[in-house]
């Protein structure tokens, strides 16, 4: 067991690995009322192709998300109901690279921890329950198909990583999920839900001694026998980008997105720093602190709908910029944003006087983020960042120099990797 003390913030984290391989991290915060528990497996929507003992296996798009839905339902009970009896909320989400199961509770933390460890490790799938779920997930997929912002994100991903599993909706398509069977779900469960492929994080108001005991007993039964399995994730291809694409939808205002990707992969320590550097860089380039943001805002080219998102994952990394605009302005706005992105290093040098303020900004944001147990739990990602938490952020920013930020920006923003996607109101295609 390792204890990390964050003295400045009067917080500490305990970490250990169970004999079966499950990674456990605990942050006790007695002044809070609620406790968040998150159990995460490294299995996301992109993991549809793997090799097991050198044998290639391909699964339908949306299988990780489907499995997430189905794990709640058991032969005798529903895990949702069980949490509810303890007064807890439970939920789950699937992203490109991981699936997480969460509870949030103010009472009965011990019972919630054992329920979480129990239901995620006891799969039950039947033809009947799997077929019924196709209806529910089909509705969810259709809802996303109508969601123009979601379509914009996937449009830009299609341009950045054409024909890779990343372009499939996380839930799959109405067609792809029809092919899912209980046998496939059992197989994926066996491959990806091994304790050594998973991590448990608990943050909040709990009795550490009692919780450690519960964790040791709850997972004692789940075997580590599959650990000799030789499972390899097939790496995402890195095809040429599609520089431009567009589509129409039933919307009022056109939507524009620009995306830029970066090939080099990072080690966890590096990635943690890169994420923070990118946040500062983007704020200085196109955030409300930048002179360009104010200029474009004053010209009426961008408004509050403008935003950007950083995706740093194992195997792919990109930044996407998005906004709502008008038909008259869409080309000019795209050109302006493009000019900023491809000249990032020059633009940043012009903004050097605000660098110290930006460091303060992000130190403050990180400290305010410590107000939320949920934020602390969700920010933690063992495989992406190692055992780093929000408590590590302020000191890291304090040490950051302007020169290293500029050097990084120069590498990251490569004009050849920039692409544009847009959604126009129906009938207005240019």
């Amino acid at each position: 067991m390792v204890t990390i003390n964050y003295r400045r913030f009067r917080e500490k984290m305990e970490s250990f690995v169970l004999p079966n391989g499950l990674h456990v991290n605990l942050i006790a915060r007695p002044s809070f009322h609620q406790t968040e528990g998150v159990l995460t497996t490294r299995f996301g929507s992109v993991n549809t192709t793997i090799t097991v003992d050198n044998q290639l296996k391909t699964y339908p798009s949306g299988i990780a998300h489907f499995l997430e839905h189905k794990l709640f339902e058991k032969e005798e009970y529903d895990a949702f109901d069980k949490f509810a009896i303890y007064g807890a909320d439970s939920n789950a989400f699937t992203s490109f690279t991981r699936t997480s199961y969460l509870f949030s509770t103010a009472e009965n933390v011990g019972e919630c921890v054992s329920t979480l460890l129990d239901f995620v490790f006891s799969p039950y799938f039947s033809d009947q329950t799997v077929n019924k779920e196709k209806g529910i997930i089909g509705q969810e997929i259709q809802m996303y198909e109508d969601d123009a912002n979601w379509q914009l994100l996937f449009g830009i991903i299609n341009n950045l990583y054409p024909k890779t599993p990343l372009t499939a909706d996380i839930a799959g398509s109405v067609q792809s999920i029809q092919a899912i069977t209980p046998a496939m779900l059992y197989e994926c469960d066996q491959y990806f839900y091994r304790p050594s492929n998973m991590s448990l994080m608990i943050v909040g108001n709990f009795d550490g001694v009692q919780i450690k005991e519960i964790i040791k007993n709850a997972t004692a039964g789940s075997s580590a026998s599959n650990d000799r399995l030789n499972l390899q994730r097939v790496k995402l291809a890195y095809p040429l980008i599609v520089p431009f694409a567009e589509r129409q939808m039933d919307i009022q205002r056109p939507k524009l997105a620009l995306g830029i990707r970066f090939e080099k992969d990072f080690l966890p320590a590096e990635r943690f720093k890169v994420k923070i550097m990118l946040q500062i860089i983007l704020e200085m380039l196109v955030g409300e602190s930048s002179t360009d943001y104010q200029r474009l805002f004053d010209q009426g080219l961008i408004d509050n709908s403008f935003g950007y998102e950083i995706q740093l994952e194992d195997g792919f990394q990109f930044v996407d910029f998005y906004l709502d605009t008008s038909l008259e302005q869409i080309d000019q706005t795209a050109a302006e944003l493009k000019a900023i992105i491809v000249n990032a290093a020059v633009k940043l040098t012009e903004q050097k006087p605000i660098f110290e303020s930006m460091k303060r900004e992000f130190i403050g944001r990180a400290i305010k983020g410590m107000n939320s147990n949920e934020n602390i739990a969700n920010h933690f990602d063992l495989w992406l960042y190692g055992e780093r938490t929000v408590f590590d952020i302020p000191a890291m920013i304090e040490q950051l120099t302007f020169d290293e930020v500029i050097d990084f920006a120069d590498q990251f923003f490569d004009p050849a990797e920039l692409t544009r996607y847009q959604i126009l109101p129906r009938g207005d295609q240019k």
Binding site: A84, K134, D147, V174, D250, R426
Partner: protein, 430 residues
Amino acid sequence: MKSEFNYELKPGIKVRFIQSKQFKSVQMMVSFIHELKNKRELASRTLLAGILESSSAAYPNQHAITLKLAELYGATFGANTEVEGNLNLLNFVYSFVAPEYLKAGQSLLDESIDFLNQIIFHPRMEKGMFKPEVFERQRMNLKTYIQGIVDNKQSEALVNVQRSYFDDPIQQNTPYGTETDYQELTNQDIVAAYDQMLRRDQVQITVMGDLDLDFLKHSLSKFEFQESARETLHEICYSQAVKNQVKVQTKNESVQQSKLDLIYHLPIDAHQDRMFYAAVVMNAFLGGSPQSLLFQNVREKASMAYYAESSYSSLRSMVLIQTGIQATNHDSVLTLIKEQIAALQQGDFSVEQLAKIKIELINERQRMQDSPASNLEQAVLSELLDRPLDYKTQRNGIQAVTKQDVVAAASQLKLQTEFFLKGEMANGNY
């Protein structure tokens, strides 16, 4: 541990200070409260908030404000409006990091009050008017924002069902007013709204954090509030007469997923005691949680909706039901919803089910204590209603609700309005 202090800064300007060490930041909210007289005030006050938020004499644009906030270690600031029954609140929301967590250890309280004072009392004006370009920019931004609301289909259905249900034009157009209002508002209208806000509105200042009371009092006394005759707030709760006829509306659009929204009249408001908690529990039971009848029977069992939920507005005496469904399932979903309500009215549920719902509600309230924003909102609402809304009061109120109470509350539900946003792209796959 939390302790509370209440005092009056000047007549009509109340301060509530919640002293607490739980969070690593200090939260503040200055609320200007006004009883709405006509629907245009929704737009004028929203526009006023937008103008004051984005500029001041000392900080002429968004850029200057953002940089000031960054310098104050990422202090968070925003101005917004909300409608609470018959009242409109124009809020200045602000938070800053507690000094002990900053490396330099400096207190940001005085600088923060000075910043807010600049924003509230010294806007960017020219010859008695708001700077024309700021006014125009904010007006256009809000107009396009309002136009864009219908791009989210769930919001579009909500806007329509509420327009159809309410008799009062103010309620019909909450919270932001209409596009036409923004078209017609003049700079002079906003100056008048600002004058009303400064001299006539009631003011509530709410502060939470680890501060010394005398130190805080001293800082707050620097706000340049004028002594003037401030308005009397009559009734926060909106009510309207129940109708015998159900209004039914359908709108066709080329989207995948249809939306069916209903509004029921429920003559129980936040001033009541036992029946108020009965209505809260009844709504949670109907569609306010994953354990609810709508979620379980419409979404889970019948697999007919991706979402099916209800919400009770105790300040408007109504229950809203929102669903996302297949167009072809309209009739079956409507029947299922009515069956769930009938079950509650007839007491066709077990005390165990009721107990689960109550535990869930109590937990939710316990968890709200961990959110700085919820703490402030609850403090303001409690002041407006002049009744305690702290965790213990709410827990006791919810615990006391019996099966008979739920039946009595449900029996007063009267369907008034149905709105159906009919999707014409249903692909008929299931």
